[in-house]
Symmetry: C2
Subunit: 259 residues, 2 copies
């Protein structure tokens, strides 16, 4: 199909419709298409506008998360097929549960009822980033440890934003590694430690972008630091996750749900 | 239904299954249930283990994003109903597109093909947080402006992690507001500015958690700063978003997709 346009339509942010849609479409190798995300479609007027835009963009399809059947009906009146998560599942789910759903547009899609928890966790992650304020480690749910540039900061921020986890991160420096014991400040929090490691080649590449040609970035030094960190963390029974081939989302899911 | 357990099962992180499931279940007011997220189910052995756990947890239901029909079939052999996004949509989508899907477990769910872009954006957001390194503002896709504690930092991090946008944030201080022109360093980037504002009562509450009883946190001062910021940004044609009743995700979606 040539010149296909895919509309992700939602009565909330559109993030779930995008995630569902991109997963589904990635199954069709070689398919090319452009996408448009249309969030906050929560009135018949907005739905009618979108229906017109979709019609003008033919060939097109709609992947949507619209809680209100009336909004879905407006889109379904057009020629483009509508793949809606609520349309597909609300009925069967209601039949299984023996109760009826109530349309509540945009209220809770993907939004945690622990919103303040997540915001507090973001502020916490920033306040203890990179070993700052170690006196606050007692408050942490988790402490990510690893060599410099192992990917601790983005993982700690994602853990905060997505899961509301207070994740500190603490870099193990060459001095820490020479001592061959965990830094004093981490010892009392051993159960909270989670290790991030990665392939020395990948670490050298990342560090070379920052400090090209430095000893810090050399493959030999990266290899030495990573060997030392892995040995130290294994000796202390700390879970080690290899970040070389995993995304931040994948690492966070492994940490939260166990591996 | 009493003692219901809902399993979110995925061959990837489970974030999409959770988002879909929570949206769906939030439509059933008053329903109580516990949830379990089971990510990385990508072998028949893991799927069989989960099928047993689900059976032991009856009454239970499964909401899943499993690309591989074989994995789905293993779960569907149990008594608990399975609501799977790929099961529901892959067939109809293939029929519309006229091509067959290829099962590619866990490869791309929700994961952007712009992964390095997103990580660079996180590092950028951190490096320019709270007005740091203003010489880098030229690199920014967007610059969030507003009074101190208006919620700029979490929004800039979410814009980076979710959308790969390089979002700087710059606080407008009382001195900036007295000057009644935009700070020099922002003037040349006017088209990139997006304003965050909020109700003075909410701002006072947030600031009082940080510096209780201070002039900075007083309702009178918050009201004055917000009036001045709103006037300044309106005079300069900057889009203003009220963050009082919106989540970080909602603000980010408004910024990315327009309001």
């Amino acid at each position: 199909m040539e010149n296909l346009t895919v509309f992700f339509v939602s009565d909330h942010t559109g993030v779930t419709a995008e995630a569902v849609g991109k997963s589904l479409l990635s199954q069709f190798r070689g398919l090319t298409y452009k996408t448009l995300t249309i969030p906050f479609i929560d009135t018949p007027e907005k739905a009618s506008d979108i229906a017109k835009r979709v019609q003008n963009a033919a060939p097109a399809l709609i992947i949507s998360t619209l809680t209100d059947p009336d909004m879905r009906a407006i889109l379904q009146n057009g020629k483009a097929p509508v793949f809606d998560v609520f349309e597909a599942f609300s009925g069967p789910l209601a039949a299984f549960l023996g109760v009826s759903p109530a349309a509540m547009a945009g209220q809770t899609h993907g939004m945690s009822n622990t919103y303040d928890t997540r915001m507090d966790a973001v502020n916490f992650a920033l306040s203890v980033d990179d070993g700052l304020n170690p006196e606050k480690l007692g408050e942490a749910d988790l402490i990510l440890v690893g060599v410099s540039r192992a990917g601790k900061t983005p993982v700690s921020l994602y853990l905060a934003l997505q899961y509301g986890k207070k994740a500190a991160n603490y870099p193990l420096t060459p001095d820490d590694l020479d001592a061959s014991t965990l830094p004093e400040v981490l010892l009392e929090h051993k159960a909270k430690l989670r290790g991030l490691t990665l392939a020395p080649e990948r670490l050298a590449q990342i560090r070379n972008e920052r400090l090209p040609g430095s000893r810090y970035a050399s493959l030999e030094n990266c290899r030495k630091e990573i060997q030392a960190v892995e040995a130290l963390l294994k000796a202390n029974g700390v879970l080690l996750i290899d970040s070389s081939r995993r995304s931040v989302e994948e690492i966070a899911a492994l940490i939260v749900h166990g591996s």
